[in-house]
Amino acid sequence: MDPPVNHTDFEELAAGFALGALEPDEEQAFQRHLEGCGACRTSVRDLEEVSASFAYVPPAVEPPPSLRAWLRRRTGLTLRRRAARRIGTWQGTRVLVRALAAAAVLAVLALSLWNLALRDQQQIDRARIATLQAAARMVNDGTATRVALSGSAAESGARATVLASSLKDRGVLVIEGLPQPPPGRVWELWSLPQGDVTQAVKTIAFRFRSQPGVHTVQFSTHLTPTTGFAITEEPGPAGSAHPTSDPVLFGVPPPPRPGGA
């Protein structure tokens, strides 16, 4: 395209500039023009305010705690921490769970969206929907599989679903109504290749920070479209290498549609 020659040409570039939609050569030409043109600078300032509002179009997602922590360290608000308790990230950093005091309150990965008592049914339903939406965003994979878990705990009122992305090897367990395990014990999530519980792979051990509520537990592990999941109660703080009891919750993905996925 022809380079901008008169001022109208530049005016027409302002919207594209504010949206970052110009070709590199146009953007450079416009940037140079801005240095010498007050009218265009005003125009761009107003347009950039509009485009900045677009940041509020996507759903709000809570940033990972590591972001704030990094900022605080980088600006000197906090000193470098000793590598003690760390919160799992999507890079596959393992969660190090350790007992704290005599009360043995264990560190928890679960991202509890609610720490209020949910008395109202409408609140509970809203919480469930919002948690599933948040879980879907955490996984961020439109092809993720939903695996509903059932079993003895479900009969006592627990509801659990795993959103699993075999594309990203990560997932989220959304769980509600599962009681806190006895002191010194943890719940452990296992991934089951081909849904085979005898092949259970250690995935993540957890307790809840607060009850009641709808909790999400993020995890990273190798996943395929046929991976199932199970939850057992294991000794704390970090669970077991293999399940030592029968699952209280168990589920496998729905079979793929005929004709291939």
Partner: protein, 203 residues
């Protein structure tokens, strides 16, 4: 007298916080992160669809303010605009550089971000909620060709030329659509009252 903790910085205007950051006040920077960190993160995540890349972008944005606050020029725009525009630009740059990111987020996916979809979780956030509903309503009210051009550019990182190619229309048409769309949004948002949009930003 300086009070410790970013909670003490709830009330001040953004411009006051920037001035404090320019003096090396890290708590003031954290207060700006309290205000705009989530929006920056949500935007970067939306554009990049990758947590580690999004985190890298948002870190850089706030770090750039930490380093350059002394040179921040209020005549060029508000700090909210600076933080969110910089996030947007860096995220889009990254999408353009990383070919596989672009392939992951085809135009249909970009357009699938319906601006008027209910989100459920946003209701608790008062200030954010107000901006959120205003921009979404305003975007939803645009003629489809204008809205599509803006969405493809902003969330997909497509250039005007690429959008023209995707839509099968001349480049000038896309430019006109973008300009018209932005003009309408500007008028609508201005009518809604800038003071309500960013209450910490005086005008």
């Amino acid at each position: 007298m300086r009070v410790r903790g970013s909670r003490a910085y709830r009330a001040p205007q953004d411009s006051h916080l920037v001035a404090l950051v320019a003096e090396g006040d890290a708590t003031a920077l954290e207060a700006l992160y309290d205000r705009y960190g989530e929006a920056a993160w949500s935007l970067a995540l939306r554009i990049l669809a990758d947590q580690s890349l999004a985190e890298a972008v948002v870190r850089e944005v706030f770090l750039s303010l930490w380093r350059e606050a002394r040179r921040f020029d209020p005549a060029r725009g508000t700090v909210a605009t600076y933080l969110l525009s910089t996030t947007h630009h860096r995220a889009v740059d990254m999408v353009r550089r990383e070919e596989n990111l672009r392939r992951r987020h085809g135009p249909e996916k970009v357009l699938a971000l319906a601006p008027d979809e209910p989100s459920g979780l946003d209701d608790e956030v008062e200030v954010g909620g107000l901006i959120r509903s205003r921009i979404r309503t305003a975007l939803a009210g645009l003629p489809e060709p204008q809205r599509e051009a803006l969405m493809l550019a902003y969330f997909g990182g497509y250039t005007q030329r690429e959008i023209a190619s995707l839509a099968g229309v001349p480049l000038d048409t896309v430019k006109a659509r973008m300009a018209a769309g932005m003009r309408r949004l500007k008028d609508e948002l201005r009518e809604a009252g800038r003071q309500e949009q960013f209450p910490w930003t005086p005008r």
